[in-house]
């Protein structure tokens, strides 16, 4: 794979993201959500103004776990399928580039745009909260931004895989929503069902949870915020007892990385043989 050609495709994706306005829209959404939650963070204490980094980070974690996968699954899903359907992928692949360069370039281009929108949205919030609310754990806020970027990486890879597997916009959008529902809600319900039906031990439930990238991010975020996982019950406690805080962080980060790698390589394997017309 040649870096120059891959970078040209990355730059093309970023340009299109900016032109299509989803980049600005998502940056504005990140900014709106994070600033809004920071403002609402003090509502419970009957005060007004921006909450500090601690409250803002805690409020943001759960919202981001819902919002980011929904956005990246759809964006990744439309990446290849959109160009396949409108015919522009054939134009691109008739140029002297390999499919590996096209697949990687499109993925990295989308990722760069998503990450830039996250950094822009949260960056402005960080500055505003720093200026108006001051105190709190800035490290946890930075950790949350990093976590959101990691989650975006993993779910974008899953979205891109859906894109090459399903190949039309309509199917991909439906599937992206179904996968999001599964990862956010159904996998929890399924695990609970399995626990009831099969009497699963905490370690089995823990390893099932680790397979879900959103759960990995939730555990990592909770760990970063409180250093404890007892709020997550026996499963969280098992993970912490078994691996310790550092080991658990490494394991969960590795699980997110593995999700990304497996989805990306599987997607490329399919794309290599995808008919393009």
């Amino acid at each position: 794979m040649r870096p120059r050609e891959t970078l040209l495709i990355v730059a093309r994706e970023v340009r299109e993201a900016i032109r299509n306005r989803w980049f600005l829209l998502s940056a504005a959404s990140f900014l709106g959500l994070s600033l809004g939650l920071s403002l609402l963070g003090l509502a419970g204490s009957m005060r007004s103004g921006f909450a500090g980094f601690d409250r803002t980070t805690a409020s943001l974690l759960n919202v981001m776990l819902l919002f980011v996968p929904l956005m990246t699954l759809s964006l990744g899903g439309l990446g290849v399928a959109g160009e396949l359907e409108d015919g522009s992928l054939a134009t691109l692949l008739s140029q002297p580039v390999t499919r590996a360069e096209v697949y990687t370039g499109k993925f990295l281009g989308l990722l760069a745009a998503v990450w830039a929108s996250i950094l822009l949205g949260f960056g402005v919030t960080g500055i505003v909260v720093g200026l108006f609310a001051g105190g709190g754990n800035v490290g946890a806020f930075v950790g949350l931004v990093t976590l959101v970027m990691l989650l975006a990486l993993a779910t974008l890879a899953i979205g891109t895989l859906l894109s090459v597997l399903l190949r039309t916009r309509a199917r991909v959008v439906g599937a992206a929503f179904a996968v999001w529902l599964f990862l956010v809600y159904a996998s929890d319900l399924g695990t609970i069902g399995l626990v009831v039906a099969r009497n699963l031990a905490p370690q089995q439930v823990f390893f099932l949870a680790v397979l879900n990238p959103i759960e990995d991010a939730r555990l990592l975020g909770t760990l970063a915020l409180s250093g404890r996982l007892d709020v997550l019950g026996p499963v969280g406690l098992f993970g912490l007892d078994r691996f310790g805080p550092t080991g658990l962080r490494v394991l969960l980060s590795a699980a997110l990385g593995a999700t990304t790698l497996v989805s990306f390589l599987w997607g490329y394997r399919v794309f290599r043989r995808t008919p393009v017309s």
């Binding site: 050609e5 040209l8 093309r12 340009r15 299109e16 032109r19 299509n20 160009e83 409108d86 015919g87 522009s88 054939a90 134009t91 692949l93 008739s94 140029q95 002297p96 580039v97 390999t98 499919r99 043989r273 008919p275 393009v276 017309s277």
Partner: protein, 231 residues
């Protein structure tokens, strides 16, 4: 220059091409003719590596599966329905120029040669008519002065004047010994451009290759009035 040996393509359980074998010599212009769905476009897509197939296909000695970059470097492709996404025309051609390491000046020149003026070059391709897209696609195809042209119903979206301009350009390229493989229904452009015809039917090369009819002069095919109107 172009060689296909035993190329078979299957899609969703259907055989699109069945053991297709053909050769096109350097400098030769060959037309693929046949009814809709016979496999003409699929032959071109196989040569570009756009569709998976079994068998062997090569351009300028480069296996299109194993050496896709080398094979496509010498090819200019004009699809039946060109698409560039939501970009400006100038961006579309500059992107291709960067991939092919062609200077910006040449890209701008190619646009002008294809009849796309400066104002149109700054427009989004989504606002282009079929004919304008075809012109942009022609500019992209000719950008790097390729040895081989793969043309898929190239004049389908063009008006009469556009067809004439296209025939003029390709006739000039033929005089420079470019190799052309053309999928077309239009007997007039086949007669003007091609040395030989290959009939394709239901995924097979259906008939032995035969000579194209003697080419009439361009003026006989396109009335002189139309040529004047274009200029």
């Amino acid at each position: 220059m172009i060689r296909m040996t035993g190329v078979t393509m299957r899609l969703d359980g259907r055989t699109i091409l069945d053991h297709v074998t053909l050769d096109v010599a350097p400098g030769e212009a060959v037309a693929l003719v046949g009814p809709n769905g016979s496999g003409k476009t699929s032959i071109l897509r196989a040569l570009l590596g756009l569709m998976p197939f079994s068998g062997y296909a090569a351009i300028d000695g480069h296996d299109v599966v194993r050496e896709p970059v080398a094979a496509r470097t010498v090819v200019g492709y004009l699809p039946q329905k060109p698409a560039f996404g939501d970009v400006l025309a100038i961006e579309a051609i500059l992107f291709a120029a960067r991939l092919r390491k062609v200077p910006r000046r040449r890209a701008e020149e190619a646009l002008r040669e294809a009849g796309i003026e400066d104002e149109a070059a700054q427009r989004r391709t989504k606002t282009f008519s079929g004919g304008m897209l075809q012109r942009l696609s022609l500019a992209v195809a000719l950008l790097a002065d390729p040895k081989v042209l793969l043309l898929d119903e190239p004049t389908a979206s063009l008006d009469r004047a556009g067809q004439l301009a296209f025939l003029d350009i390709v006739t000039a390229l033929r005089q420079r010994e470019k190799t052309v493989l053309l999928a077309s229904h239009r007997s007039e452009e086949i007669a003007v451009l091609c040395d030989r015809v290959i009939a394709v039917e239901a995924g097979h090369v259906a008939e032995p290759e035969r000579e194209a009819q003697p080419a009439p002069a361009l003026a006989q095919v396109i009335p002189i009035d139309a040529r004047r109107a274009y200029r």
